[in-house]
Symmetry: C2
Amino acid sequence: MANSPSGDSVVERVVRVLETFTPDRTVQRVSEIGRHAALPSSTAHRLVDELVAAGLLERDEEQRVRLGLRLWELALRGSTVLRLRQAALPAMERVQAIVRQHTQLAVLEHDETLFIERLSHPEAGANIARVAGRLPLHASSAGLTLLAFAAPEVRDRVLAAPLPRLGPRTPTEPEQLRRTLAEIRRTGHVVAPGSVEGVSTGVAVPVRDAGTVVAAVSVILPRGADPGPARAALQAAAGEIEAELRQTRA
Amino acid sequence: MANSPSGDSVVERVVRVLETFTPDRTVQRVSEIGRHAALPSSTAHRLVDELVAAGLLERDEEQRVRLGLRLWELALRGSTVLRLRQAALPAMERVQAIVRQHTQLAVLEHDETLFIERLSHPEAGANIARVAGRLPLHASSAGLTLLAFAAPEVRDRVLAAPLPRLGPRTPTEPEQLRRTLAEIRRTGHVVAPGSVEGVSTGVAVPVRDAGTVVAAVSVILPRGADPGPARAALQAAAGEIEAELRQTRA
């Protein structure tokens, strides 16, 4: 439907335009959008006009363009992410009140860890994850948890691909990673020191909905901190989130 | 670009498809999507195929379709909403810890109140607002605050349009509403009993970024509760959010 001479659909070009907006580039001119999306100038102008008319983009008086609130609304309103983070937020707040460190909720998306919620703590340490940000599955406590309980084909795919080193103790050997994942399945939690950053230790547990692991909740501790209280708080939180999910299922 | 015989663009049809997903309808078959979006069956199938290929929709083994995580990610990653709610969340948590009632963050979008964050309290009372949900501007404490500080043309437009009654004390007379808005601008807060629901009272204050009101934070109290502590907590929160916004601007 509605393909350009180069064969890409309008939908693909819309996605390319939306992809040019990032945390570091929330406002752009049409010329920048066209350049970053590799679209001819006339195409970029027409597409931006259409997206502005539909409310998916917004244009200010100075002709600068940003993502529209309408896009955010459409993406969230009928989204299963919203159900998950609404179910998780009260429990995450309780974890944060106890542990007083960054508390996160992550899901597996296209073989990566996608962070869908994060409560930051003013006194907490380093943490490179951000909301709507991604990390490789093997390189965070949340990702390791998601990978441990993922479908076998996802695990095989990740283990067969290169395992880049993000922190001093990121597991980069497939056999070592396989053992870590088996251990996570056995104990139901992971303590991962230095898997993302040398200065921090991630602690994560799985969250199940209808028997399937759908998310991981994690806390980032300063390296060397006792992971026990965080683990206990996360396990309690996972139970609360699962109860909440059961309720919203009915 | 790429208009159908009926003259609507592909972008408009994409929006119509996305609009069919709602909090009560997060999973649909293509036939339902086509019906709700008023699209011919063949068009609906082609468009859903393209949206699935781009990751904006997801299809499960049973051919049921839901909004894709990719859509959520694109909508949030480069979004100014994300900056606002990340700046607001810690302060909102402190409000909720003190007031122990629903705490909300709202923005003005196309002459309506759009709620972009909500912390619910398990013991709290009725509240019809939800995340990514909308209410008329005159019919909630957050909306009244946003309207009070809106551009004059927005105020004139809202005051000229019908003012539906949502609660027993929704302001429905333009002159009465105009006086309420002037009072909000004078005092910097609003206490609105029964403007949405008879059983509750909304309390709201504005949040400024670079001198302009960009949001309202509000708390929903049981009708008859003393609004004083909530107002004080909200005013402190607004100050904290504004400081945070100043910092992320730099």
